[in-house]
C-alpha cells in the first residue's frame, strides 16, 4: 500500500532542499581535496611490483630467452607464441616471440615460470598500438619500462 507523504506548498517546490544540496557541492568544490589528476601531464606512482607490458631481458645484447616454451605452457590465456631456432652463437633462440596482449590477463605467471629470467613484466601501462603486429620480438626486446 502506498503512503503519500503530506507536504505543504513550500516543501513541494524543494527550494530549501536544493540550496542544502548545493551547499554541500560548493563546500567540496571550493575547500575539498582533489581526487583526480591531470593525466597525461601528471602521472600516478605505481607499485614496483605492478604488472604492465612485457619485455624480454637481454644480457650483453643477446636475449636471455632460449625458447624453452615454459611461458606458453603456463600461460592461462594462451597468448604467447614462440618458434624456436638455432644460430651459430646460440644453440636455441626464439625466432618468433609474439604476445597477444589483448588476450593477456597480466597474471605474471610467465615471469614466474621463466628459468632464464627472460620474460618480465614492466611498469608500462600505456599499451595502445596502431598495428596488430606490434608486439613482436624486436619490440619486446626494446621495452624496458623503468627496469
Amino acid at each position: 500500500m502506498l503512503v503519500k507523504a503530506k507536504k505543504n506548498a513550500l516543501q513541494n517546490l524543494y527550494i530549501v532542499e536544493i540550496v542544502k544540496g548545493l551547499a554541500i557541492t560548493m563546500k567540496n568544490m571550493l575547500f575539498g581535496k582533489t581526487v583526480t589528476i591531470q593525466y597525461p601531464e601528471e602521472r600516478r606512482q605505481y607499485s614496483e611490483r605492478y604488472r604492465g607490458q612485457h619485455y624480454i631481458k637481454a644480457t650483453n645484447g643477446v636475449e636471455n630467452c632460449t625458447a624453452c616454451m615454459l611461458c606458453p605452457t603456463v600461460c592461462p590465456a594462451e597468448c604467447i607464441h614462440i618458434e624456436a631456432g638455432e644460430r651459430p652463437d646460440k644453440e636455441k633462440y626464439p625466432v618468433k616471440f609474439e604476445i597477444d596482449v589483448l588476450r593477456c590477463c597480466f597474471c605474471g605467471m610467465c615471469e614466474e615460470a621463466c628459468p632464464k629470467d627472460a620474460i618480465k613484466l614492466s611498469n608500462i601501462y600505456e599499451m595502445s598500438q596502431q598495428q596488430r603486429e606490434a608486439y613482436d620480438k624486436g619490440f619486446l626486446l626494446e621495452q624496458r619500462g623503468n627496469k
Binding site: T66, C68, M69, T73, A84, G85, E86, E91, K92, P115
Partner: protein, 489 residues
C-alpha cells in the same frame, strides 16, 4: 608358485625374471637408466640398487634374478641414500640445460632426478665439455648431456647388428662416439634417440620443433612395409611432429626403422594434392567435389574399366571397392598393385635381419586374403582405369590409357598420368584394419583430420553412387549407396 616380497608385498614371478621386471609387474617403481628389456644387462648406472635381506651389500635390481622367498626393499634408508648419491654423481657433469634440450618432459634423468635426487648439489667444479661431431642425418649428438649408460652402444651391437657406437677414453673423460667419428650407418638410427635416457642423442628431424608435453599421442600402426610395426603418432594442431615405436613383442619388439619413422612426411608434404583436380594427363586444374565426381564418372562410365587398388589400402576400403566394382562398374577387372617386384605374398620376404620387409605396402597380405589378384599388365581393350591407393603403393605405367581416375593420396609428380584426381585420406587420417605378414590384424587409428579437401574413400564412393542416376542399370543408386555404407570406414 615362486614368490618374493618387495616392499612388504608378496609378488609372484617366473624364474629368471629380474627384480626390475618383477617389481614393475607389482606396480613398484625401481629407477634405472642403463637397463632396457630389449638389451643385454650391464648394471652400469647403479641407479636400480635395492636392499636384499641377508645380503651384506646393496644389489642392482637389473642383474639380480628374483628367487623364491627373497625379501627386497626398494625404499629402505640405505637404498634411498644410494639413489640420492647416484643421482648426484650423474648430475656432476650434466649441464642441466633442460630449457634447451628436446628430451625435457620425457627424460629419464629429469624424472628420476625429480623423484629420487636431491634439489641441491655440492660440487662447484667446472663441468666437462665436448665438441660434438656430426652423426649423420637422423641423430644429433650432445655428449655433454651423456651419462654413459651405453644403451646406444648395446643397441647398435645387439639389435641393429652394427658396432658403430663406442666408448672412448676412461672415467671422467669417457666419450660415446662413432668409430672414427663416422656418421651413423644403420637404418634404425631413430631408435638411438628413443632409448637414450637423456638428451644426448636426439632426432634432428624433431629438433626444437615442439616440446614433448604439447604433443597429443595416437596409438596406431606403421604402414611402411608388410610388418606393421606398432607406433605412436604425436601431433599437435593437425601437424604431425614425430612417430615413435610402441612395444609389441610379436611384431616389432621395441624398435622401428627410420623409413617407417619418417614415412608420415609425405602426408603433410606441399606437393600432396588435397583438392579435386580434373583435366587431361599432365594438365590438371583444380575444381570442386561435385564437378570432379561428375568428371570421374564420365571418364569411367560405360567403358571397359580396370580397377587398380593399392595394397596400402585398409581391409575395409578394399572390401568397399570390391562391392563398388560389382555394383557400379560393370565388368570391371579388379587387381591390386603395390611394390615393384613384389607382386604376391610369395614375393614378400624379410628385407633385412631385423624388421624391414620387401613389400613396401602395409596390407598386401590382407588384399590377397580378400581374393584380389595381382596386377600383371593392362588387359587388351581397357578404355579406362580407376586407380585407388593410400600413398605408398607405386603407380604402374598406364600404357597410354587416356582416362585414368586416381583416388587417394597423390603427389603432384605422380599425378602426371592421371586425368582426374579425387584426393583421399592418408594412413594418418583414417581408421581401418591392416593385415601384416604374420596374418595379424591390426588397427590403424586416425590421428589428424584429412588434409585440405581430401575425403575418406567411403565418402567419395558414396558421392559417386548416390548422385549416380543412370550410371548403373542393374542397381538403383539408393540401394547401392546403402550397401556401400555398411562397410563404411
Amino acid at each position: 608358485m615362486l614368490k618374493c616380497t618387495i616392499d612388504g608385498r608378496e609378488v609372484e614371478f617366473q624364474s629368471g625374471q629380474n627384480l626390475i621386471e618383477v617389481a614393475k609387474k607389482a606396480g613398484i617403481e625401481i629407477p634405472y637408466f642403463c637397463y632396457h628389456p630389449g638389451l643385454s644387462i650391464v648394471a652400469q648406472c647403479r641407479m636400480c640398487t635395492v636392499e636384499i635381506e641377508k645380503n651384506p651389500k646393496l644389489q642392482t635390481a637389473c642383474s639380480t634374478p628374483a628367487s623364491d622367498g627373497m625379501v627386497v626393499s626398494t625404499k629402505s634408508e640405505k637404498a634411498k641414500k644410494n639413489q640420492r648419491s647416484v643421482m648426484e654423481f650423474l648430475l656432476v657433469n650434466h649441464p642441466l640445460d633442460c630449457p634447451i634440450c628436446d628430451k625435457a618432459g620425457e627424460c629419464d634423468l629429469q624424472d628420476n632426478s625429480f623423484k629420487f635426487g636431491d634439489a641441491y648439489m655440492r660440487t662447484s667444479e667446472d663441468r666437462r665439455t665436448f665438441m660434438d661431431l656430426d652423426m649423420g642425418p637422423v641423430i644429433k649428438k650432445n655428449m655433454n648431456r651423456c651419462i654413459h649408460c651405453t644403451r646406444c652402444i648395446r643397441f647398435g651391437a645387439e639389435v641393429a647388428g652394427i658396432r658403430e657406437m663406442v666408448a672412448i677414453q676412461r672415467g671422467n673423460n669417457t666419450e660415446i662416439t662413432t668409430i672414427d667419428g663416422r656418421p651413423l650407418e644403420t637404418e634404425y638410427a631413430g631408435n638411438y634417440s628413443d632409448i637414450c635416457p637423456t638428451g644426448s642423442l636426439t632426432l634432428k628431424d624433431f629438433r626444437f620443433k615442439k616440446r614433448a608435453w604439447f604433443l597429443k599421442k595416437t596409438a596406431t600402426v606403421c604402414e611402411g612395409c608388410s610388418r606393421g610395426c606398432n607406433m605412436e603418432i604425436q601431433q599437435e594442431g593437425g601437424q604431425i611432429y614425430r612417430c615413435i615405436p610402441r612395444e609389441n613383442q610379436e611384431i616389432n619388439q621395441w624398435w622401428m626403422c627410420d623409413e617407417g619413422r619418417f614415412n608420415y612426411r609425405y602426408t603433410m608434404d606441399k606437393s600432396r594434392i588435397t583438392e579435386p583436380k580434373v583435366g587431361t594427363p599432365g594438365a590438371l586444374a583444380q575444381t570442386d567435389w561435385g564437378s570432379a565426381i561428375q568428371a570421374a564418372r564420365k571418364a569411367i562410365q560405360g567403358k571397359k574399366t580396370l580397377l587398380l587398388l593399392g595394397s596400402d589400402l585398409t581391409q575395409e576400403e578394399a572390401i568397399l571397392l570390391q562391392k563398388f566394382a560389382k555394383q557400379t562398374l560393370a565388368n570391371a577387372d579388379v587387381r591390386h598393385f603395390g611394390t615393384p617386384g613384389v607382386k604376391t605374398v610369395a614375393d614378400d620376404a624379410a628385407a633385412d635381419r631385423l624388421l624391414k620387409r620387401k613389400s613396401k605396402t602395409s596390407n598386401l597380405h590382407g588384399v590377397e586374403k580378400l581374393g584380389i589378384s595381382a596386377f600383371e599388365s593392362i588387359p587388351a581393350g581397357t578404355e579406362a582405369i580407376l586407380v585407388v591407393r593410400g600413398g605408398r603403393a607405386v603407380l604402374p605405367s598406364f600404357g597410354g590409357v587416356a582416362s585414368v581416375v586416381g583416388v587417394g593420396v597423390f603427389a603432384d609428380s605422380e599425378a602426371k598420368a592421371l586425368s582426374t584426381v579425387l584426393p583421399g585420406a592418408a594412413f594418418t587420417e583414417k581408421d581401418g584394419t591392416i593385415v601384416n605378414f604374420q596374418g595379424q590384424e591390426q588397427k590403424l587409428k586416425r590421428s589428424v583430420l584429412p588434409a585440405g579437401k581430401s575425403k575418406a574413400l567411403s565418402e567419395i564412393l558414396a558421392l559417386w553412387t548416390h548422385q549416380g542416376a543412370g550410371l548403373s542399370s542393374q542397381t538403383g543408386s539408393k540401394s547401392s549407396a546403402a550397401t556401400l555404407s555398411e562397410g563404411a570406414v
